[in-house]
Symmetry: D2
Subunit: 300 residues, 4 copies
């Protein structure tokens, strides 16, 4: 029986790159995790181990470090585009997926002033980007991950159907907490030189976080949708937002066995299971891009 090689890609994952811009005494640092994945006609490699056209993943790693020195990293999106265009310029490479996570640092304040060359990690939240290069098309999908937010009121949940397996009590006041992963697909306009990806990131993030805070929630789905709408309204250069938002349950502790009321004051923060709400908001009339999303998320 004959078999066929299906979708495939290969590359170097999680190259840890830190750069220091020392052009002035006030250093700037970038802390990135870079993954490069290449696609093309690698059938001979799969079938008979012929590596003639296989750019080693070690070379890919070296290229990341060399480009960081030669070209500078700039915005994560621009660095990813630079790397992706370099790799697809090879005859044997038809497409690429370059993912960059940026890890946040802030300057340490010393006696009220921000230090020139000392930094502290600013949180676990990451700024992310994935650039997908296919023959004739380049797509930039950026986002954020591990943004943990919580509202101590302003969230209700009721009106849901009840069946034999329903025990949940309705509530008009609960804690709502989640860890947001969001990704937004940019329009092709951002590929022009000098697009301000950093400013766009801040605009989108601010819109989403402010909406989480200000929106009165009847369902986490409603909050998610409102956050997506706010992102689209705030940044005209994005076509679509996808979000994955675990409902990090905070259950009210039943204190009645101890003769105590608990008027929404004492909660247990649960680990598992958790609700998982996932959705997307598109600008009207914009075509969906399933092939891009397949590239952005996991392979297997």
């Amino acid at each position: 029986v004959a078999h066929v090689l299906g979708p495939n890609q290969y590359g170097k994952a999680e190259v840890r790159l830190v750069t220091v811009d020392r052009s002035t005494p006030r250093h700037e640092i970038r802390d990135l995790t870079v993954t490069t994945q290449l696609r093309g006609d690698f059938e001979a490699c799969h079938r008979v181990g012929d590596n003639t056209v296989v750019i080693p993943t070690d070379t890919q790693k070296n290229t990341v470090y060399a480009f960081a020195r030669e070209q500078g990293v700039g915005e994560p999106e621009q660095f990813a585009l630079l790397l992706g265009r370099h790799f697809v310029a090879h005859d044997q490479v038809d497409g690429a997926r370059i993912a960059v996570d940026a890890h946040p640092w802030r300057r340490i304040p010393v006696a009220g002033s921000e230090h020139d060359h000392a930094f502290e990690r600013a949180g676990a939240e990451r700024r992310t980007t994935t650039v997908v290069l296919d023959p004739g098309t380049v797509t930039v999908v950026s986002g954020l991950a591990d943004l943990v937010v919580l509202k101590s009121t302003g969230s209700e949940f009721h009106g849901y159907p009840r069946d034999r397996y329903t025990t949940l009590a309705e509530t008009t006041d609960r804690i709502l907490a989640t860890s947001v992963t969001a990704r937004w697909r940019y329009s092709a306009d951002v590929l022009a030189d000098g697009y301000h990806f950093g400013a766009a990131f801040t605009t989108v993030r601010t819109a989403m976080v402010e909406t989480f805070a200000a929106h009165h929630s009847l369902a986490l789905q409603q909050t998610l949708y409102a956050m997506g709408e706010a992102a689209l309204d705030a940044c005209p250069d994005i076509l679509e937002v996808r979000m994955s938002m675990p409902n990090k349950h905070h259950f009210l502790v039943d204190l009645t066995p101890f003769g105590l009321e608990n008027p929404n004051q004492v909660f247990v923060a649960a680990d598992r299971p958790y609700g998982l709400i996932e959705g997307s908001v598109l600008r009207e009339g914009v075509p969906t891009a399933p092939a891009v999303w397949e590239s952005v998320v996991g392979f297997c």
Copy 2:
């Protein structure tokens, strides 16, 4: 400007379920992590917080536990099908994605005999399944994750192109190590009552592991492809195999500064970065199923 609700799903993630079959003194245990996700017309929930047709994730969790008692869990695939069919029978639910991870235990040997009711965790490897239910079609994709394997010889890597950024030395003898994530898509035949998913799992896993061991490797891609072919050859009920295999690098330590040779004896096991080889093998003539794979892997 108007916005549109795009792809979305919601459910309960990582419900931890352990069952004990006590029908004889020789207990059987099952240890599962279950995730249920539902799809349908949830636009009113997203837009105005109308939960009229939203089966709470808490109810989904309850259903998992109640079904485990009422119906038993059986094979992970059968339990996932049972749950999925239950949920899509609701008017408002068009589709579902039910994922089940099975965690392995083995009986503790006491004085040479396996104990009736005492078990030890048999490793970190998981048996996985994702059942995707769409209108008119049900697909079962099963697999394994975190299967860590290593060959101390029988692996070469050379003949690759060299460019300005290539420094890697060619080798005819290296350690090859990886952590296999594999998923295989079953044909619709397995939906018949009484299909032996457990036997199929063992057949596929054995074929893949034996091939990893016996195959002389010129590239991890070649090993991956051979493992996929072996799986298809071993089990006629699977149509396609996808694999994601990090190249867990073991670098030969340079001991020459200490006046020592190192003839492939002392290695450093590196954490990051790692090569990442991903590919799929299909039975010839079988249609691909991109929509299914979109459901199986991550959303965002």
Copy 3:
């Protein structure tokens, strides 16, 4: 042969507690992970399973939640003292170890103002405390964990001995990065009512972080010691500081194969192995407290 029961303790670990102070529309939240461990004469339990004097760990958990409601949590140190004193008041309990980790949140800014009831996680760093109660004595050891800091210059390393196994090059300019775990032992004076543990925490943390930034380092040990001295100088109520500081290596990438210089600009952030520097600074004349530290750190 007879055996003897040695050191032992038991309790409930990692009780996840979130409280909301709703006394004004501007909510305050506390997010704590609480571990209680009790000591006493539990020999009958160990030898014959007699639980007559064993306060169940489930009861300990309930007590945490009930006390949070009845007494409020206040500062982590005060909540730990409250719990510890409650438990050692039982006849059978001779001593206790109560550990509390506090997880940081900050208010979400909306249009320039901090929101009343919406928060974002402020980082992975934790404020920690362990209260050790023994017959006749109570000790408070507080600290911080996972404070990640980095200097892009102002760090040297040279002058070390060379032996057959030394290959490291000396440097007068390297990146210095670490993840600080620090614990400081308070004097008994802080047990008086109304001690401001929060202010003390801020004072000590600021002294340590500012010293990390401002100190010109010839060795991570020297930086550690200077941080400990600064802590003792800043807060008269602490007797001793212990620190564990991994040297999170940032290696300069060798770009010469690509015809590039690398004047301290492009680094690889390594995972493992890492240097591990651990040390303590005591106020002169203060007796050490080995039994307390045994209680603070791990059992086994």
Copy 4:
């Protein structure tokens, strides 16, 4: 005010070492994680950054790899002793703590035979050792970690005191599950050449696991103590065993809302909080060794 340098140590943590014995076609592999920590008069380094007597952690790492080649690794205990004795032979080093974790692999079976050079990871459980060298004395403390075991019956819990905060129901039949960390201190006799640490490990581990299985438990403390006794009875060369055993709660799911009984069949495996039972058993008449245990467990 003057300050004093208190306890301190430094070294290289988590050196990842894999060795292949290729002396016959049937390869043997060792997979170790090695941590070296040195103690001595390092005051000048802490106070003024004088590294004159500070063996760099990089040199320590090199030594691990060079010794693996020159001397072979043998049993983890022997490799740790070798390294420790090498380091304390330096004038400036008074003591050392060498910790080695061994990661298990097993041969891949191919057509019923174990393969010569292909292996699969045999689980997450680790064999551990810590060798503590102080002036005039060397102590070996070995153990295991992450041994996860479960009994589906044969465990009771009742007879405990009830106070205002007690809600737990008594039970005569529950699931008992734990993840064992155990460490045993060897007598000085094992320092003689050729002691069979591997055989001792197997003897102690078997005694503990078989006891977990066979022992009818009235409390996890009782199980722990019985396991410690069994270890001491099985291996005359160990003086003391310490164990840390989280009670991995498996709660019976209340199915009565769904009209179902649940006769100990369906359980939720909880993450947090968990009971934490820690204790030790000593051979009668053996002196305790608090300074050794301080070295074995964490610093801060």
